[in-house]
Subunit: 238 residues, 2 copies
DNA sequence: CCGCCGGCTGATTGAAGAATCAACCAGTCG
DNA sequence: CGACTGGTTGATTCTTCAATCAGCCGGCGG
């Protein structure tokens, strides 16, 4: 970015290096998996020396953890914005699906790492990745708790499970693309999948029939800004 | 098992040892994850010596692969039986869900390993674990292809994606128990989850007229009046 | 022009653990 | 009852990497 060599630029260049490494880590993790790659692979991908990775990250695990923080917290922030925003349930469900698919559109590899490495990885080291996933489900379950109190949902639905099912559907939908079951270069397929996931789920869960919003009516929006602190975002390519 | 010491018993005892080790592997993998455990842990769990594991399995990976073969092929066989059997779609969907939950009831740890270690593991060694999961989805997608031709499904559903969503819902439902989000000792909760997954999915995917096979008829507490008028197009955030 | 400073390098180390293998022993058979 | 078989053992070897650290530039201030 900035080409100036001023002293102030120093910190800039530092964090740029850091970002390069992080980016490389995401790519390599996505390609070979966390356990399937060496720090050397990450360094090579980033075009830096082996040891530099350790200059910016305490260890391999912190690298993954940072990938996690960066990507996941951004995702959760956006989901929270949707959940806590105004509007009917159907809009929010579409919103949650949108957030997930938008993240995928922006950076499929990062999403792949989140899904394949972090969300499902067995109880690991420091961070509680398991918990992270569970937290997101709990968060969006508030949606369904409120909706159920308002009588919007079928009587026999459990809010927590509903929330889990939504995420399950989203995740498996994305997995279909991540694993190549579906062609992720096909933008239309992505749109259709998005619509079908939200609609299927809504049809399944809503008390009254038509949620009205068939796929055609739904237009994706760019998650532009967060309510308060727009900070750590899903990794983006410049 | 048979205590006789006849010669014919030999082969029996061999495979019994093997099964013991396999069983131990499942337990240890479920507890600490494939990468998080040593062969020594498996041996200890099985109550055998380190080296014996290598007498029955070529290496650590073959161990996991065998766990996979054993568990997954059984699952797929049952799913195939359901898919190729007679009956309405709704019964089959319930059947598939049943198969998954029954597997969990019978051997939760094995299911945990399948879900956490195998189905989602990144492109790893030889075996096509990725493919296996995809195959199951393809298999059950035939269900939806046929149902759609029969006009049983909403027009805008993609069979393959529907199948993926069903498995996604099942998997996340099970994950809720596997990770402790829900209490898996609570048999009722399992039953309820099972029913809700199948019903939610069916409601979401079936063409409107509810087929007789549907489970308990639910009653809306009140027709949600305003909700239906508000399109999902509503802004997901102000 | 020199020498310092901090980002950067990559050979080196050593821990962890997968895989091996020579010895051991519990049965079995002649 | 003694030779034999093959399942079983676990110390030993060998490999793989994560993590270290002793220095190398290259810019910058003096």
């Amino acid at each position: 970015m900035a080409q100036s060599k001023s002293a102030a630029d120093n910190g800039n260049r530092e964090s740029e290096r850091r970002r390069t490494i992080l980016r490389a880590a995401i790519d390599v993790f996505a390609r070979k998996g966390y356990h399937g790659c060496r720090i050397a692979d990450v360094a090579k991908e980033a075009g830096v020396a082996y040891g530099l990775v350790y200059h910016y990250f305490k260890n391999k695990d912190e690298l993954l953890e940072t990938v996690f923080d960066t990507g996941w917290s951004g995702f959760v922030t956006r989901v929270r914005a949707v959940v806590e925003g105004e509007g009917p349930l159907s809009a929010k469900v579409h919103g949650v699906v949108d957030v997930a698919f938008e993240a995928y559109r922006v950076d499929p590899r990062a999403v792949k790492v989140l899904i394949l490495e972090i969300a499902r990885s067995p109880a690991g080291s420091r961070i509680n990745r398991q918990t992270a996933f569970v937290d997101a489900i709990r968060l969006s379950s508030e949606l369904f708790i409120r909706a159920k109190e308002a009588g919007e949902l079928r009587a026999d639905t459990d809010p927590l499970l509903s929330s889990a099912l939504l995420f399950g559907a989203i995740e498996m939908g994305l997995t279909a693309f991540v694993t190549g079951l579906a062609d992720s270069r096909d933008a239309q397929a992505l749109e259709r999948a998005k619509a079908q996931i939200a609609d299927t789920f809504l049809h399944g869960v809503l008390a009254d029939a038509s949620p009205g919003a068939e796929s055609a009516a739904w237009k994706p929006e760019k998650p532009s800004s967060e309510k308060s602190s727009t900070k750590s975002k899903a990794p983006k390519r410049p």
